[in-house]
Amino acid sequence: MTSNSSEGAQAELPRAPERFVRALWGFELRVAPLPTPTNQALARRPRFVGKRLWLPASPLVGVPGSFNDYLFAACAHISAHLRFGAPRFEVKSLKPAQIAIISLLEDARVERLATAQYPGLQRLWAPYHQARAEGAKTSSSLLGRLARALHDEAYLDDDEWVNKGRQLFLQGHRRWHDTNLCRELGGVLGNDLGQMRVQFNAKDYVVQPAYRDDNVGLWLFEHESSADGTPFESEAVRRIESDQAPKQGERGAKTNPARHGSASEPASAVQSAATSEPASVTRHAEWDYVIQRERPAFCSVRDRPIAPGDAARVASTLARYAAVRKRLERSALRLADRRPLQVRRLLDGDRLDLSASIAALVAGRSAAQPDPRVYRRLRFLLEPPALLLLLDLSESLNARAPRGSSTLLELAESASSLLATSLASLSSDFAIHGFSSNGRHDVGYCRFKDFDAPYDEHARARLAGMRAQLSTRLGTALRHAGQALATRKARRKLLLVVTDGEPSDVDVHDPEYLLFDAKQATTGNRRLGVTSFCIGLEANAQKSVHRIFGAGNYTLVDQLESLPSRLAEVYLRLSA
């Protein structure tokens, strides 16, 4: 029914390594998959800048052991840098070889300090040190052997330079907490390597062993000097910037043939076009009642960024509804108390009510009429449903309520913040989304509060930034919301829709078309286990919401000022 192109080429990284780092050191990392390099020949290495981490999302070639262990090893290494590392070194006049050697010594230093606290890390890293004292003495092999020599005291090497490096490093063990140590030793070893006439090629150099980061996070590269600086540093800076740059620019530049196609274009063309869409676009089918068929991947929904408003204003308007809020909070609390209720003294139940049975027996013995209600039963209450409040944010919401000073938009905003405030203390299993459309290629979707996100200052600021504009392509929004809701674990899923009239959009001239589509979307949602309920904002909305949601699945609010309390009532009634 939909093609979701947000599932791109990047696989998801497991979350276990992040948790591992938190368990070891108590800080949080932000892990993202490492972008695939343009130069395929270059081996990939993890990278960190501050507490942002990039890890390969798939196993690297030639790396032994399980991929999970590799990720743990990489995270343990980088977290050791973060825990024990120096402030980033300045490059100044250092040569590429010196930078590589200083980084290598720094790697060993932080690993030693980390193993002092967690001795098992030594075993985690050991399998990746595969350098051996054989073969040509190129700079890469020597650096790999030095890395192993510093890691593994049992390792034997015949090279004088490697042994000197190990000796200097071990002799300095009292200074392992000194962040200048590696700079000093690295300078010496770098000069030695130069005098041995061993070539160091920064372009081909890849850090060994494979779990270690590419050293970018250790150095402070001066942006100005990078143009005439070493290839080593300019490459690093360039790559960081290209990794971090958002891909916004590409979106506008790409012209998608599907956007200008006619309604009767073949489905296959749409499908193939969908693959080249930018990541945040989700496509949904649309029901065409004329041909009695679904048009696959016909409408594009994209998340619209929300300019935050004044969160304090939301809080102050909320004060007007203090009484409703109190009632709502109390009911919500009752709703959340999922403990079973004992119902005693029943004629029929799952087990004997001991005190009632004894009373009945006593009554029998004393020739009184025994009370036959001697059973009890546990009554389990339904859990509160997962809730998605979907707001129609089309232009018509800017109208003022007939007798009031508030616009419909302000009322919708108060209603959502009232509901959110009351529910927030109990559960985060609710979301507040809104939509407005500008033709089928541009259905905008705003997430004011998402599932599992806290209802905090940011969420309130987003609510305060609510804008009403454009049109109402209701069916597409219903599908999008229904699918988000369908992934929730709660047994009941409730989609509350607040809309002010019948669906319409700029590219549709048949008023029946979107109406039938919205009805179809509601049916589809029901199949996904999502119950829809609509709050119509005007008496003349009745005809359309009745047709879309069906009798009994909507209510109309004629006194618009009462929308916030009505919304709350509807929620309570539906969740009890």
Binding site: A16, R19, N68, A76, Y118, G120, R339, Q342, L378
Partner: protein, 268 residues
């Protein structure tokens, strides 16, 4: 007969308890003032052991009630039973303690329904009176009677809390996992592990406790460390023992299991 009944609740041998702060002194003073005591703290940090130790120290019998949803007031106070052709009143645990002068310990008190707990109100203020409406009796509590409750404020939600009117009758002592050196000592004492191994187990616990609120509801408790230690002293390999006693009971989330196991390996 009553002495015989109480005797079964007496604690004969000194339970091992290592004081973490001044909780022993506080409890003794509260007992002297007959101020009911609430012990707060995460599961497995030694609340129950502490009560046992204090009962032994004060030479009072200890009657423990594990609270649950289904518990009713008559489960605490007592009820009429049929006995041959007549009825006989059977005291509940709270009534026995109040009548004969024991320490009554309500473990995990929030698990009991709030309306059930109201029966402790009159016996926890200066009246020290236990009212038994079914028996039409107002029982004046024994001079030695003392009420202790425990609860774990960590994992209960807003709906599972005590009423303020219940809470305010107690003096509270807060417990947490012992400081590193003490926890090592406890693990060594309870399991007979070497100091080095005990240190490593405690490091594992400290690592897991950092994940509390980041996927874990509760960290590894001292009790779990003792479990792991007793598996190790029975010849189980350290990593397997940690997996069984520390990692698997804590979570079912496969990613967390991986993270915890990696932490275990890092500590060993």
């Amino acid at each position: 007969m009553s002495e015989g009944l109480l005797d079964s609740f007496r604690i004969r041998d000194e339970p091992y308890y290592l004081a973490v702060a001044d909780e022993v002194r506080l409890f003794e003073a509260a007992y002297a003032a007959r101020l009911p005591v609430m012990l707060k703290g995460p599961t497995g940090c030694g609340k129950t052991r502490f009560v046992q130790y204090m009962a032994w120290r004060l030479r009072r019998p200890l009657i423990t009630v594990a609270c649950n949803e289904e518990m009713s007031a008559s489960d605490l106070l007592g009820r009429y039973l049929l006995d041959g052709g007549a009825t006989r009143w059977q005291d509940g645990p709270l009534t026995i303690a109040a009548r004969l002068g024991a320490i009554c310990y309500l473990d995990e008190v929030v698990e009991a329904r709030q309306d059930t707990l109201v029966v402790i109100h009159p016996v926890t203020d200066d009246r020290r009176l236990l009212s038994l409406p079914a028996k039409s009796e107002a029982l004046q509590a024994h001079a030695d009677f003392h009420l202790v409750v425990s609860h774990n404020p960590g994992y209960q939600s807003a709906v599972k809390d005590l009423k303020p009117s219940t809470k305010q009758r107690f003096g509270a002592i807060e417990f947490d996992y012992p400081a590193r050196a003490l926890e090592v000592e406890i693990v060594i004492h309870e399991t007979g592990l070497s100091e080095e191994l005990a240190e490593r187990l405690v490091s594992i616990a400290e690592a897991a406790r950092r994940l509390k609120g980041h996927g874990l509801d509760e960290g590894i408790s001292t009790r779990m460390l003792v479990h792991a230690g007793s598996l190790i002293t029975r010849g189980i390999e350290v990593e397997a023992a940690c997996r069984m006693a520390l990692v698997q009971p804590l979570t079912d989330d496969p990613e967390l299991v991986l993270a915890l196991q990696a932490s275990v390996r890092a500590c060993l």
